[in-house]
Amino acid sequence: MIKPLDIAAGSVLFTALVLGLLVPPDAVQGDLQRIMYVHVPSAWLAYLSFGLTLVFGVAYLRTRRIRWDHLAGASAEVGVVFTGLALVTGSIWGKPVWGVWWTWDARLVLTAVMFFVYLGYLALRRAFEDPEVRARRAAVYGIVAVAQIPLVHFSVVWWRGLHQPPTVLRPGDPQIDGPLLAALLAAVFAFTVVYAALVSRRAEVGRLEDRAATRPADGAVAGDGISAPPIVGGGR
């Protein structure tokens, strides 16, 4: 069943896509710069989703309501997808501009590290069968893991590298032309709505998975009819 949030996500994403294609190209990079309308919102969603993984984890530890854990897991999963997208789009942009697919820049390396931290988080979640134990352990790891976010964000300030410093989220005025900024903000908004739709769906799937896993089997299971042959005669 399609929810209103799904329709809203599809609509704003389409609008942002059209806007991103209609705004004038960058004065220096030309059309290549348009990849930023996917790269920057993906990076923003990585921060948002991992930050919210922490918030949902803390909410679970305080209330012990399992729905917070489903939201935390969903948020981390969506965050890993968008972090991967940010890395891939950055690499595609980097090849023509920097001349390499990958460079040992602090922002790149730390983003890749953050990706693996949350892959570990997802591996941890999959390792536990008991939903309560999984929720507790994952919430604790989510609290420790979130320290990566400020490190990734400020890496361009602390280390000199190829990656440009913050353009929009910087002290003072944003260093970007008006129409380009509007397209970028529209893309950020659209991706955020898509994130909300995906997390909502994934959390629901998580809830159904838990219910299916804990529900007793109500029918015959394959192999029920097979029994071991009786051992007659005994050993020697």
Partner: protein
């Protein structure tokens, strides 16, 4: 609580003394790693001098996680139940485990530092700063590893999962320590890297103490 930490720390050290896992297994393994790397990158003395300190920190982080995962650090269900019945705070258990791991890591770091100097002959500067840097880095690695081991506790895949959980989180420690060492060699200020290490340690200590109780629940 301090008395509990002291008693538990003594128990951890006694367990390790009996098992000898760090001294007889992990230190030799770290030395082997330092021996093997030059064969992979080429026996180029100036290059080895340049990369020596970085390799030291890399080996410390990677093998440091193994130190935190040692068998003598594993608290079985029976011991945990007894400690719970005795009213020992889970935060005291975390503090004792992290402290024991820190001490063992400093020993491990001293051993591999000696081997790094002998094998790679790096130019050493700011020995007093290094004496501060190494325990700070060891404390951070110890706390990350202790938390990871607690989080993955009771799992069959613990030995493979805990390093995946711990090593990426320990990257800021590796970065700060390596940058500080480079700063010392270049004669630059390293105060901000020391500060970053101290902040990471404080954040990890708070996280470990505050989350110790939920991790102990069964």
């Amino acid at each position: 609580m301090i008395r509990h930490v002291r008693v538990l720390l003594a128990a951890h050290m006694r367990d390790e003394r009996r098992a000898g896992e760090v001294g007889l297994v992990i230190i030799p393994f770290g030395v082997v790693a330092l021996l093997v790397i030059p064969m992979a990158v080429g026996i180029d003395t100036p290059l080895l001098d340049r990369i020596g300190p970085g390799l030291f920190w890399t080996v410390l982080v990677l093998f440091g996680v193994v130190v935190t995962q040692r068998q003598s650090a594993t608290v079985g269900d029976a011991r945990r139940d007894v400690l719970t019945l005795l009213g020992v705070d889970p935060a005291a258990r975390f503090a004792a485990a992290a402290l024991a791991a820190t001490i063992l890591l400093v020993v491990f770091a001293a051993a591999i530092a000696l081997v790094t100097v002998v094998l790679y002959d790096p130019a050493i500067a700011g020995a007093a700063w290094l004496a501060l840097l190494v325990p700070l880095a060891c404390a951070g690695i110890a706390m990350v590893g202790t938390i990871a081991v607690a989080v993955a506790g009771g799992l069959g895949s613990r030995s493979s999962l805990a390093p995946l959980l711990a090593v990426p989180i320990a990257v800021p420690i590796l970065l700060a320590a390596a940058q500080a060492t480079e700063g010392l060699r270049a004669g630059a200020g390293i105060l901000r890297w020391i500060l970053l290490l101290a902040v990471v340690d404080v954040v990890l200590a708070l996280a470990g103490v505050l989350t110790a109780r939920p991790l102990e629940e069964s």
